[in-house]
Amino acid sequence: MQAIEVENLKKYYGKIRAVDGISLSIGQGEVFALLGPNGAGKTTTIEIIEGLRLPDSGIVNVLGLDVIRQPRQVKSRIGIQLQNTALFQRLTVAEVLELFRTFYPGQTRNSRELIDLVDLGEKKDTQSRELSGGQRQRLSVALALVNYPEIVFLDEPTTGLDPQARRSLWDTIRQIQKSGASVLLTTHYMEEAQELCDRVAIIDSGTVIAMDTPGNLIQQNFNETIIEFNTAGSRPLDGIFHGLAGLTRPEMVKDHHVTLYTANTVATLGSLMNLSERGEIHFDTLNVRVATLEDVFLKLTGKTIRD
């Protein structure tokens, strides 16, 4: 049995097709990410799977249960972290956690264990309204772990966190995975997906445009090296890179940011230098690197994820 099975999920808001025929299958113990820009339909999708929203059509099975028919049974076996929820403002971290324990019929983690999991020990007696954004986010993740969930849903868990807090949350997610639970998370941080996930689904305009392991996605889309630079000056760049040595596909130009894909880094760099010497182009910064999920996203959707 798969942890989550979704078939041809649709949810329209008027003319906006928030979710437009998404199908997913997520295995037990898998860490899976829905990757996409804001407004791509990630949150709507995850909330339908959690049973918080009803789809217009489609089938959603979670742990073998029909979410639409048995939402309560599903909710008692999964853990949910929502985007920007304020909690009981005047209760302390430990009090909120103890309160949530009483909502679940089965076994629950005690508040000390939860506090350790998300590293909030110093704040356990602080009222939740006095927590910083990152601390609140960690509390929110702890709440998703109260009932030893078989699947943990994390909606943009690291958005708004500083790099250190993000890494500490990544550790928590790895610990969740070690406990045997599946994790379904949404993010628009490519590196996060690359770092944590067994598989990712790239979502754009309510549809899945690619789904695989991060490594496979990169390999299938890029055998090449990426050369990136900013151009100075307002000269039009149309056609300027045409016929440049080693290029495998057309360049991507956004404002003054140029991305070239090459099978022969040395040759491409050489011909770029020639362009520069002839004064046809001015570099600001130049960066040579291997492809990442971000490049896959750019290639598949024609836009950067933070657009």
Partner: protein, 361 residues
């Protein structure tokens, strides 16, 4: 059950830590009490000046005057009608009774006589305090004449012993107002805030049944209603020597009943309002007219007739009347069945509509 208790305790804990909540639900009504108490406690042991113009020559007129002189809160002045009428107009008299000529003869002939009572309706205490006593005195006098068994002699004694003052009337009114505001400000506005902060949504992501959440919230608010009643009554008793009559269990029942009705109204508003701003606007729009028009600060007799349909539709009118009836044994404006019936009607209608319109997100 354990979950309901835990949620209820969590609500209380949050309440205890929220100073603004405590201010609006407890300190505000107490301040109201203190303010009005100080303003009105000046006429503490009021006696009411009663003028009697006796146009009857016989024993009946004299007997009636004697009956009035026997009432400790009445200071009786006799004289002719026109002199006394001008004193009434100046405000020196609270009421003026005119005993018709030939009353003695009429009584002897078994015919009814009409004792006219003049009073100034802008004086709040007159219709509510003095007139009942006057009619009770007259009734007692009547019974003496007709030698009917005196079945209701206890009542005039209670009323006069209670020595009703402005503050005695205000206290049940302020309590009723507080219970209304519990439903408006501490229910509707708070729920909309919880919804906007997505707390309700987060709770909806757990297997917690919504009925449990609802029950715990209502229990919590009923507790606040009882706390408000206790605080207001204690301030009244300690500082202003207000006598609370009536059965305490019935009083608790009415406080819970009234709170429940306004809490249901609060849930309904929270379902209709989309934002905290619109909720604040709606609650204020309801609060203000109810405060002014429900006979809490101004007697209902002062209201112009055209506004009476509005007054008669407002639940606070009946809750205040019901509380006064029980707490200070005042003469009710409406029959008991009307008070209870209208409030029950509001409770049922608000509850049904609230269930229909309530939104968790």
């Amino acid at each position: 059950m354990k979950t309901i208790i835990q949620l209820y305790l969590a609500n209380l804990k949050e309440y205890r830590r929220e100073r603004m909540e405590i201010f609006w639900t407890l300190a505000f009504p107490i301040l109201f009490m203190l303010l009005f108490g100080i303003i009105f406690s000046g006429n503490g042991n009021t006696t009411f000046d009663v003028g009697i113009a006796n146009q009857d020559q016989g024993s009946a007129g004299a007997g009636l005057i004697q009956a009035f002189q026997g009432v400790s809160v009445f200071k009786v002045t006799t004289g002719n009608e026109s002199t006394l009428m001008s004193s009434l107009k100046k405000g020196d008299l609270t009421v003026l009774l005119v005993i018709p000529p030939n009353m003695t003869a009429s009584i002897a002939a078994d015919k009814a006589s009409n004792v006219a009572v003049y009073y100034d309706p802008t004086n709040q205490t007159t219709p509510q305090v003095v007139l009942p006593i006057v009619s009770q005195v007259v009734q007692g006098f009547n019974q003496g004449l007709t030698h009917q068994p005196a079945l209701v002699v206890v009542t005039p004694k209670t009323v006069t012993a209670a020595n009703l003052r402005e503050i005695d009337f205000l206290l049940p009114g302020i309590l009723a107002m507080s219970l209304m505001q519990l439903g408006l400000f501490a229910t509707a506005n708070v729920l909309v805030q919880l919804r906007q902060q997505q707390v309700l949504r987060r709770l909806g992501a757990t297997p917690l049944p919504r009925s449990m959440l609802l029950i715990s919230q209502v229990l919590f608010r009923l507790t606040i209603g009882l706390l408000q009643a206790a605080a207001i009554i204690l301030v009244g008793v300690w500082f202003f020597n207000v006598h609370i009559l009536g059965n305490p269990i019935i009083l608790v029942g009415i406080v819970l009943f009234g709170s429940l009705m306004f809490i249901a109204l609060g849930y309904l508003i929270s379902g209709l309002a989309r934002t905290q701003e619109s909720s604040a606007a709606i609650t204020n729009l309801i609060n203000f007219p109810m405060m002014i028009l429900s006979g809490i600060f101004f007697p209902l007799t002062l209201m112009p007739n055209w506004i009476r349909p509005l007054v008669d539709a407002m639940p606070l009118t009946y809750l205040a009347d019901l509380l006064r009836r029980v707490m200070i044994n005042s003469t009710p404006v409406f029959p008991l069945t009307t008070d209870v019936g209208v409030l029950a009607g509001w409770l049922v209608v608000c509850s049904l509509l609230a269930l229909r319109f309530f939104r968790w997100e």
